[in-house]
Amino acid sequence: MCTVVPISLTVGANRIVPTVAIPYPLGNPALDPADEKELRRKLVEKALKALQTEVTEQTVFKDE
C-alpha cells in the first residue's frame, strides 16, 4: 500500500494498492471521523483482496 505508485513499480513490488497522500497514506484529515473510518476500511479490504489475487506480473489494484 503506497501513495507514489511509480516508486513501488521501480522497486519491484508485485501487488500495489494506491493510497491517499504521503503524509496520510491511510487516512484523510479533510474527512469527518466516520467517513475517514469508511475510507480506511475500504483500503484495508482492497489490500486483503489483492493479497488473495494471483498475479503474473506487477499489478496495480486501481479503483473498480
Binding site: 501513495t3 507514489v4 505508485v5 511509480p6 516508486i7 521501480t10 494506491p18 491517499v20 497522500a21 504521503i22 503524509p23
Partner: protein
C-alpha cells in the same frame, strides 16, 4: 525582462550607531534592526548577533538564510507577496550586499533545521561560513502553533534583510552584472543557431512546514508556470522550509539561484536560455502526475531543445524528478538532472527512491549520509541540544564536550541541489 545587478562587496560586519555601508564594512544598528525584525505581535523577543568567517561560532538551529538586497529602480520590491506588494519583479536595477547574510535562528520549529559553523570541519561544508552573518534570534509567544511559529520567524528574516538591504541603495557598487531574457519569439531569434534551454525549477512543497512561495503564493497550490529568470534575483521565490538542512534551498540560494546564473553565463555563447518553468513537489500521486504533465507541456511549448531539471529535498520528490525527466524526454527534449543522494553512511545503498533509464545525464551534489564530527566552538548561538533531534542527527549526536557527531545532512547547504555547495569529486 532586463535586470542590472550592482554588487557591493561586504568584507566585514560590525555593530554601529547607524546602519550603513562604509568601505566594504556593513555597520548594523543592533537595536533598530531588532525592533524592525521584531515588529510582529506574535514575537516575544529578538536578539541580534554577528558571526564572521573564521570565528569560533556555531549557529543552531538555522531556519533560513537571506541575502540583503534593495530595488534601486524598476517595478516592485524584494520579496514580493510578503514585503512589498505583488508587482512583477526582475527588471530595473537591484543592489546586493554581496558577502552579507541574515541567518534566522531560535527555538526549534520542526525537526529539520540546520547548523552553520564559521570555523573547522563544518565550515568546509556550508557556503554560509564564508558570509558575514547577521544572526537574528527570534523567540515567539509561548502558545504559538508550530506553523505560525515558522511564519513569524520567516517574515522576521525578510524584514531584517530588507532593512539591511536599504543601506546599499545609494552606495557605489564594486561589480556590475546585466541579465536579460526577451519575450520568447524575440529570444529565439536572438541566437537562432544555439540550442534552446529551459530550466525546470522544482520547489519543495510537501506541506506541513515543507513549503516554498512564489510572489507569496504557496507553490503547492499552483500549476507550473513560466518565470523570467531575473525574477528569482529579486526574491520572487522564498523558502518556508523546515526540510533537511543539507538540501533545502534557503531563500539566499533562490536569490542567487546558481543554475540560473550559470545558464546566463552560457547564454549567447553555447546556449540560448529561454527561461524557467517553476513547478512543485506535492504529496498526492495525482498532483505529481498533473504537475509533471504541465511542466513537460510548457517545456515543449517554449520550444526547448534541452532542459535542466533540479530537485529540492529527497525521498518522494525523487518521483517528481523522474516523472519530469521521463515526460520531458518523451517530448523529444534532452534533459540533465540535478539531485543529491541518500546512499547510507557507507555509501552502498540505492541513492534515490526512484529511477529511470532516461535519466542518463545526472549531476549529484553529494551523499547526505556521510558522518562528520564538528569540533567544539567557543560560542554557540541558539540551542546546541537540538543536534540530537534534527534530521541527520540522533540521540547522542551532541557529545559531552560540546562537539557534534552527525550526518552532513544537518549542515545548512552541504549537498545543495542547485550546486550552491562545496562538495566535489575528482578522479585520482
Amino acid at each position: 525582462m532586463r535586470l542590472e545587478i550592482g554588487n557591493i562587496f561586504i568584507k566585514d560586519v560590525q555593530f554601529g550607531d547607524k546602519t550603513e555601508v562604509k568601505s566594504g564594512t556593513l555597520f548594523v544598528n543592533k537595536d533598530e534592526l531588532a525592533k524592525i525584525a521584531g515588529d510582529d505581535e506574535r514575537i516575544k523577543s529578538v536578539e541580534v548577533f554577528l558571526a564572521r568567517p573564521g570565528e569560533s561560532v556555531r549557529i543552531i538551529p538555522v531556519k533560513d538564510v537571506v541575502e540583503p538586497r534593495v530595488k534601486v529602480s524598476g517595478d516592485g520590491g524584494i520579496f514580493p507577496g510578503f514585503m512589498t506588494g505583488v508587482d512583477q519583479v526582475g527588471s530595473g536595477r537591484t543592489h546586493v550586499l554581496k558577502g552579507a547574510a541574515v541567518v534566522t535562528t531560535g527555538k526549534i520549529v520542526g525537526f529539520q533545521e540546520g547548523i552553520i559553523d564559521m570555523k573547522g570541519a563544518g565550515a568546509e561544508y556550508t557556503p554560509f561560513s564564508k558570509t558575514n552573518n547577521v544572526v537574528v534570534k527570534v523567540e515567539p509567544l509561548d502558545d504559538l502553533k508550530q506553523h505560525e511559529h515558522e511564519v513569524v520567524v520567516r517574515l522576521a528574516g525578510f524584514r531584517a534583510a530588507n532593512y539591511l538591504g536599504e543601506a546599499g541603495k545609494d552606495v557605489k557598487v564594486d561589480e556590475e552584472k546585466v541579465y536579460e531574457t526577451k519575450p520568447i519569439l524575440e529570444q529565439v531569434k536572438e541566437y537562432p543557431n544555439l540550442p534552446k534551454v529551459v530550466y525546470a525549477y522544482m520547489l519543495q512543497t510537501q506541506g506541513l512546514l515543507h513549503n516554498t512561495y512564489y510572489y507569496g503564493v504557496d507553490v503547492k497550490q499552483i500549476v507550473p508556470t513560466f518565470m523570467y529568470p531575473t525574477e528569482a534575483f529579486d526574491g520572487a521565490i522564498t523558502s518556508g522550509n523546515c526540510v533537511s538542512a543539507c538540501d533545502k534551498n534557503p531563500t539566499y540560494v533562490h536569490e542567487n539561484s546558481p543554475v540560473i546564473t550559470d545558464l546566463f553565463e552560457q547564454h549567447g555563447k553555447t546556449i540560448n536560455f529561454l527561461g524557467c518553468v517553476v513547478t512543485n513537489e506535492n504529496v498526492t500521486l495525482m498532483d505529481k502526475e498533473r504537475s509533471s504533465n504541465m511542466t513537460a507541456k510548457l517545456v515543449e511549448f517554449l520550444g526547448a531543445d534541452a532542459a535542466i531539471i533540479s530537485e529540492e529535498g529527497f525521498g518522494n520528490p525523487d518521483a517528481d524528478l523522474v516523472m519530469n525527466c521521463n515526460k520531458i524526454e518523451g517530448k523529444g527534449v534532452k534533459t540533465c538532472l540535478i539531485t543529491d543522494e541518500y546512499a547510507g553512511q557507507d555509501g552502498a545503498s540505492q541513492s534515490l527512491a526512484d529511477s529511470t533509464p532516461k535519466g542518463d545525464a545526472c549531476v549529484t551534489a553529494g551523499n547526505a549520509n556521510v558522518v562528520v564530527t564538528l569540533p567544539v566552538m567557543d560560542t554557540v548561538i541558539g540551542y546546541p541540544e537540538v543536534a540530537n533531534v534534527i534530521a541527520g542527527g540522533w540521540d547522542g549526536s551532541l557529545n559531552a564536550d560540546g562537539s557534534i557527531t552527525a550526518e552532513i545532512q544537518v549542515i545548512t547547504g552541504a549537498t545543495n541541489e542547485l550546486g550552491f555547495n562545496y562538495l566535489t569529486a575528482k578522479t585520482v
